[in-house]
Amino acid sequence: MIVSVRLSAMSIHPSMASAAQQVRDFWRLLRTHRMLAAGMLILTVVILAATVGVVLVPYHPLEVAAEIKLQPPSLAHPMGTDNFGRDILVRVLYGIRLDLRIAFMVAFTALVVGTLVGTYSGYYGGRVDDVLMRITDVMMAFPSFVLAMAITAMLGNTIPNVIIAIATSYVPFFIRLTRGEVLSARELGYAEAARCVGNPEWRIMYLHLLPNCLTPALVQATLCLGWAVLDAAGLAFLGLGIRPPTPELGVLVGEGALFIISGEWWTSVFPGAVIVLLAFGFNLIGDSLRDITAQEER
């Protein structure tokens, strides 16, 4: 579910605190914001599992074994096996790696493109701004999943294309957000001062204004990580973008879906639960960060 969120600027306060102080602050932050802590914990565990865990599991994701196919969860195979006798746990762990990579690439791409365009639009205003805003209007008229689906179909079935497709559908949120920030920051003294000293426009835009308007966009990017996991998995579930049997969480759910009605629930329930867990982690963090930045503004 994507709801465009208008975030307010966080006031800029140069931090002179020492490293030790920062660590203490961070702990205090985690203690007061339980959801942030929970999100951090979830992601740490999941990422650890996907990096260290992969080494510990004594199977390979593509290793087939006909004699143990479709076995329910057991000690040897905590998430059971699929119809090729492959260990689902190890496939899930590899899937997490792939999905995380996709999610980070999506959020990064959308963040960079969105903030650059948004800054430009907000700084120059006028006709350029009008046109860019109408374009974002149009882009936002398409539900993001439909837009991503159409773009993937158009570009072809590869992982980079999935990243481009999903990122494109998120870009307008970043453009809107950054533009708003820049609009209000533009009139503040320091941009004016920089201009008087003779800085070129691009310097003012991207070196003076943008960094000060970045916080809400970064918070938004955290939320986007969660959405991207869901959208990429959804596309893969439909058979778009990612090639099975590349272990990818959405593909795993899709493959397992065939067995739901014959009772082999573990083939799709575990991979799907991990998708939800990942997205939940990112959303907990993103939501808390948004609350925190909003509070600081007050």
Partner: protein, 339 residues
């Protein structure tokens, strides 16, 4: 009232510009899809002349600008082309499938509105309590749930395990008569026809997909209701009302909710747009014969015109809903226009 009229005019103009943009975007998106429609239609044994004739008939051999003008002029006449998969015009296909999608979307929306309001108000009234924490957690969980997974889990639990729900194969049991079409929403039509059995059957088929979709969209609604209620409950006039002794419950239910209506309306707009489209996954899993299922079919068979029709319809619905809501609350709340 001059400013209202100007606001409406301006908003309508913007809406029209967006719609035009949507048409351009849809055309660009779908006309650069790889593949030759003519050879898809004619098959491998097509002769060169046959292909050329088919391209001429389809108009795909003309310059892109000419094709675009043609596309728009056909659109204006309500012609969205023909699906080669179903053999019908896209318009026929869409109008046959839209009621199924709308039925599902409405059911999910109603469910989400009810649950979302209850939870949102509870959370706002007891701010920072355990309930509030739980509701916020639930909202985040809802936003994090992969709908296709949830749908599968529902099927496993409610169909395979408990056998409460019918098999996930569409809107009605195989072979059962459809109700006489009035609204073409089966739940409503069967009631109108007084056919109780059909009503329960269509409701049972609707339940799981609507529940899955409803669960997902309850999250943003809950969140928005909570935030809007908090804003309102801390505003001056509520404080005044409390000060003069109006019972709290009545404040919350009457004044609070009424004033929270505007942000909630916005969310409903967004949610409805999502429901129309987020259906692709749910409709596929439940074999629900709506436009989402249609979109998926046309996507994998490169049925360009059908896909184009789907994207266009979804985007137009979305733009129109938002336009309506904007206009609606400019009437409700004059302050909007000044902003």
């Amino acid at each position: 009232m001059v400013s209202l009229r100007r606001y409406v005019a301006r908003r309508l103009l913007l809406g029209a510009v967006t719609l035009l943009g949507v048409v351009v975007a849809v055309f660009v998106l779908t006309s650069v899809l790889p593949g030759d429609l003519a050879s898809l239609k004619l098959g491998p044994y097509a002769t060169e002349e046959g292909l050329a004739a088919m391209r001429t008939e389809l108009g795909t051999d003309r310059p892109v600008m000419v094709q675009f003008v043609d596309y728009v002029s056909k659109l204006v006449r309500g012609d969205m082309g023909r699906s080669w998969l179903t053999g019908q015009t896209v318009r026929q296909d869409m109008s046959q499938r839209l009621p199924a999608t709308i039925e599902l979307a409405l059911a999910a929306l109603v469910m989400a509105l009810v649950v979302g309001h209850v939870l949102g108000i509870l959370a706002a009234v007891r701010r920072d309590s355990l309930i509030d924490q739980a509701v916020r957690g639930f909202a985040i969980l809802g936003a994090s749930t992969a709908i296709f997974w949830l749908a599968l889990v529902f099927i496993y639990v409610f169909y395979y395990r408990l056998d409460w729900a019918p098999a996930p194969v569409g809107r009605l049991d195989v072979g059962s008569e459809r109700p006489p079409p009035v609204t073409r929403l089966y739940v409503v039509d069967s009631l109108l026809a007084g056919d109780w059995e059909l009503f329960t059957s269509s409701l049972a088929h609707l339940a799981l997909p609507a529940l899955a979709l409803g669960f997902i969209v309850t999250a943003p609604i809950t969140k928005m209701v909570r935030a809007a209620m908090l804003d309102v409950l801390h505003s001056d006039f509520i404080r005044t009302a409390r000060a003069i002794g109006v019972p709290y419950r009545s404040i919350v239910m009457r004044d609070g909710l009424r004033n929270a209506l505007i942000p909630i309306l916005t969310t409903i707009g967004i949610v409805f747009g999502y429901l129309m489209a987020g259906n692709v996954l749910v409709e596929r899993i439940f074999a629900w014969p709506g436009i989402g299922q249609y979109a998926w079919q046309s996507l994998i068979s490169k049925d360009f015109e059908a896909l184009r029709g789907f994207i266009l319809v979804v985007a137009v619905i979305y733009v129109l809903i938002n336009l309506t809501i904007d206009l609606l609350y400019s009437v409700i709340d004059p302050r909007i226009r000044l902003g």
